[in-house]
C-alpha cells in the first residue's frame, strides 16, 4: 500500500490551472522525485498534499485514509513532514531552539503544566533538548546547535530544516528543493544522507529537485510535471530520456546546437557523479 497518494488532484487560481489531474504515489520506503520546469506546479502539488491548499477536485490519501480535508497540523500529527523552498525555520532562534520547537507534539506535558512549571516539565524539556541534539548529530549539525538561524549559510539551513522536520517524528518526508544553495559536493552528501535516513528510520520521501544527478542517484521513481500536468513518470533514467521531458526542459528545438551543448554538459555532470 502506498504511504501517500494523490488521486487526480486539480486546483486552479483564477485562470491558472496550477494542477490538473495530478496523480502521484509514494510507496513505503520509496524515494520519489518530482521534477519539472519552473512554474510547473510542483510546489502547488506539495501544498495540496500537506494541506496548505484544498484541491478543487481529487483526493489525497495517507496510508489509505482520505485526508483531503485535514488541516496542516493534523497531517503533521499523522506523520507527515515537509520542508519549504525558501527555508522554513524560526530565524530569530538558535538551531537547538528550532529543533525543540519542532517537537511540539512530542512534548508529553500539558500546556497548563508547562505554564505553572510543574517539575515534570523540566525533565521533559531536558529530554526534548537531548533528542533535538541527537537529530542534529544525525544531520551533522552538532557544531551549529547554539548558532542563531539568521546568519547561517543557505546550504546549512537546508540541512537544519531537514533536521527540524525529522524532529517532528515523521513517517514520510516531503522535501522542496533540498539541494538548492548547495554545491555539487554538498548535494552528493545530501544524497547519502537521504539514503541513510531511509535505511535507519524507514522513511518514505518525496522530493522536488532540480539537481539531476541527485535525482537519478537516490530516486526510485520520478514524476515530471509541466504546466500543472503530469508529463511523464517512471524510473529516473526513463523519465530523463523521455522525449517530451527533454522538450519541456530544453525547448521545442532540441536539435539546436547550443542546446545540444547543454545536454552534453548534463551528461558530463552525470558521469562525474
Amino acid at each position: 500500500m502506498s504511504v501517500l497518494e494523490t488521486q487526480s488532484v486539480s486546483i486552479r487560481f483564477g485562470g491558472v490551472f496550477a494542477n490538473t489531474d495530478v496523480s502521484i504515489k509514494v510507496g513505503e520506503w520509496e524515494i520519489v522525485g518530482v521534477i519539472g520546469p519552473n512554474g510547473a506546479g510542483k510546489t502547488t502539488a506539495f501544498n495540496i498534499v500537506t494541506g496548505f491548499y484544498k484541491p478543487d477536485r481529487g483526493r489525497v490519501l495517507y496510508k489509505g485514509r482520505d485526508i483531503t480535508n485535514l488541516a496542516v497540523h493534523e497531517r503533521t500529527a499523522l506523520g507527515m513532514g515537509r520542508t519549504f523552498q525558501n527555508v522554513g525555520l524560526v530565524k530569530g532562534s538558535t538551531v537547538r531552539e528550532n529543533l525543540v520547537s519542532a517537537q511540539y507534539l512530542e512534548a508529553d506535558y500539558s500546556t497548563l503544566a508547562g505554564m505553572l512549571g510543574s517539575p515534570r516539565t523540566f525533565v521533559s524539556e531536558a529530554e526534548l533538548r537531548k533528542r533535538g541534539d541527537a537529530v542534529a548529530e544525525v544531520m551533522g549539525l552538532g557544531e551549529f546547535l547554539d548558532r542563531q538561524v539568521a546568519g547561517l549559510p543557505y546550504g546549512v539551513l537546508k540541512r537544519v530544516e531537514i533536521a527540524t522536520v525529522l524532529a517532528t517524528d515523521p513517517d514520510v518526508l516531503l522535501l522542496d528543493e533540498p539541494s538548492s544553495g548547495m554545491g555539487p559536493e554538498e548535494a552528493h552528501d545530501l544524497g547519502d544522507t537521504l539514503l541513510e535516513l531511509r535505511r535507519e528510520f524507514g522513511l518514505s520521501i518525496a522530493m522536488i529537485e532540480h539537481h539531476v544527478p541527485l535525482v537519478v542517484r537516490v530516486c526510485d521513481y520520478v514524476y515530471c510535471l509541466n504546466f500543472g500536468q503530469l508529463l511523464a513518470e517512471g524510473l529516473p533514467e526513463e523519465v530523463r530520456n523521455h522525449p517530451q521531458v527533454v522538450t519541456a526542459y530544453l525547448g521545442e528545438d532540441a536539435e539546436d546546437p547550443a542546446l545540444q551543448k547543454v545536454e552534453e554538459k548534463l551528461e558530463t555532470l552525470l558521469d562525474t557523479d
Binding site: T111, K130, D133, G142, L145, D146, R147, Q148, D171
Partner: protein, 374 residues
C-alpha cells in the same frame, strides 16, 4: 518512530559532548561579589525603599507594580504572537469592576474577586478572540478598538456593576489593609505572573507562539494549530489584564467608569513597546515608568516650572504628560532601539545572570524581525 531510533543511534553517545558552541564562562569570586551587590541594590530598591513612605506614595508604587502586570499581559499578545490590542483598557477595567462588584455587592472575599477577575478577563478574550481571530494584524486591532469603545459606552454604564458616577468601592483585603502590605501583595502577584510567563516561554506553547509569530506556515508544519494557539495567547493576555484590573481597583479602593478610556489603552501599548517586546525585565520597567510619570512630575517640578515660564502654557496633568512623553519615547524606541528598554539593559541583565559583560550584545537579530503581522 524516527526520533526514538535517533536517540538510540550512534549520535546519542556523542550528543552529550556537543555542549554549547561558545566557550563556557564563569565569573571570578570578585565578579560574583559585584553581581551580588547589584542584586542587593535592586532588592533594596524594590523591597526596602518603599517602607515608611506615605500612603499616597505607596499607592503609586503599587500602581507601578500593577502596570508591570498589565504590560506583561500586552507583551503576551503583542510580543509573542504579534497581534495588537487597542482595547486592553476594557479588559483591565472589567477586571477591576468584577472584583469590586464581588467584594462590595456580593460580600465575598478579595481572593474570590481576584479569581473572578482573572476568569472574566480570560473569558472575554475567549469570546472576542473566538469570533474575531479569523482576522489578524490591523483588522484585529480595529476589532479590539471597537470592543474597548463599546465597553466604555455600555458595560461601564451598567449601574449595578460600576456603582454609577460615584464608582464602586473596592476595599483592601483583610490582612493587607495597610498600603505597604498591599504593595508587597502586588509584588507577589507580579512574581507569579513573571513565573507563569517565563515557564510558558520555556515550554512548548511559548515556543510555538514565537514560531507562529515569525512564520505561521512553519509553525503549522510543527503540528501547531495556529488559530487555536493565537486564541490561547489572547486568553492568557486577557487573564493577566483581569488580574491587573482587580489589583488596581483595590489599590485605589474605588473604581470609577471614566478611568477606562481609550487614552489608557494607548498608554498600555506604548509602555509595552517602549519597555521592549519579549523582554520581561524591560516591559516591567517600562510599564512602571509610565505608571509613575505623574508622580515623578510632582516630585521633580522642572518640567512644570519650565512650562510656567511660558506665558499661557497649560498645567501639565499626568494624563497629558503621558500622552506627550509616550509617543516621543515610542518614536525614539522604534527608530533607535526597536528592542526598547529590554534591548538597552540586555548587557546588564546578561552580566547579572553570570555571563560576560558585553556592551555589543543587544540581541539585535531577534528584534529586527517585524513585530505586528498584517
Amino acid at each position: 518512530m524516527a526520533v526514538e531510533t535517533a536517540s538510540r543511534g550512534p549520535a546519542a553517545e556523542t550528543g552529550e559532548t556537543v555542549e554549547g558552541g561558545e566557550p563556557s564562562f564563569r565569573p571570578s569570586p570578585i565578579g560574583w561579589l559585584a553581581r551580588g551587590i547589584v542584586w542587593a541594590a535592586i532588592a533594596w530598591l524594590v523591597l526596602i525603599f518603599p517602607l515608611g513612605r506615605e500612603a499616597f506614595e505607596l499607592q503609586r508604587y503599587s500602581e507601578a507594580v500593577i502596570f508591570g502586570i498589565i504590560g506583561l499581559s500586552l507583551n503576551v499578545l503583542l510580543g509573542y504572537v504579534g497581534q495588537i490590542s487597542l482595547g486592553h483598557q476594557a479588559f483591565v477595567g472589567i477586571g477591576a469592576f468584577t472584583s469590586a462588584y464581588i467584594v462590595t455587592e456580593q460580600n465575598l472575599s478579595f481572593w474570590v474577586g481576584v479569581a473572578a477577575a482573572v476568569a472574566v478577563g480570560g473569558l472575554q478574550a475567549l469570546v472576542l478572540g473566538g469570533v474575531s481571530l479569523r482576522i489578524t494584524g490591523l483588522y484585529f486591532a480595529m476589532v479590539t478598538l471597537a470592543y474597548g469603545l463599546v465597553a466604555e459606552k455600555n458595560i461601564f454604564q451598567i449601574q449595578e456593576l460600576t456603582g454609577g458616577g460615584l464608582g464602586q468601592p473596592a476595599p483592601k483585603p483583610k490582612g493587607f489593609e495597610s498600603d505597604f502590605r498591599y504593595y508587597y501583595l502586588c509584588l507577589v502577584f507580579l512574581a507569579i505572573v513573571l513565573w507563569v510567563d517565563w515557564r510558558m516561554m520555556r515550554t512548548k506553547s511559548g515556543r510555538a507562539l514565537l514560531a507562529l509569530r515569525e512564520n505561521p506556515r512553519v509553525a503549522s508544519t510543527f503540528g501547531v494549530n495556529v488559530r487555536l494557539l493565537t486564541l490561547f495567547a489572547f486568553v492568557v493576555s486577557g487573564a493577566f489584564a483581569g488580574l491587573g484590573g482587580a489589583l488596581l481597583a483595590h489599590n485605589d479602593t474605588r473604581v470609577s467608569p471614566e478611568t477606562w478610556s481609550f487614552n489608557l489603552a494607548l498608554i498600555f501599548v506604548i509602555m509595552t513597546v517602549v519597555g521592549g517586546l519579549r523582554s520581561r525585565a524591560g516591559v516591567v520597567i517600562g510599564s512602571a515608568f509610565f505608571a509613575l510619570i505623574g508622580y515623578l512630575l510632582d516630585k521633580f517640578t522642572i518640567l512644570q516650572d519650565g512650562l510656567n515660564a511660558i506665558p499661557g502654557a497649560p498645567d501639565l496633568s499626568p494624563e497629558i504628560a503621558r500622552l506627550v512623553i509616550g509617543p516621543v519615547l515610542l518614536l525614539l524606541t522604534l527608530t533607535l532601539t526597536p528592542g526598547g528598554i529590554g534591548q538597552q539593559i540586555r548587557p546588564i541583565v546578561r552580566w547579572l545572570t553570570g555571563h560576560r559583560f558585553d556592551l555589543k550584545d543587544r540581541g539585535l537579530k531577534e528584534v529586527q524581525i517585524s513585530d505586528v503581522r498584517a
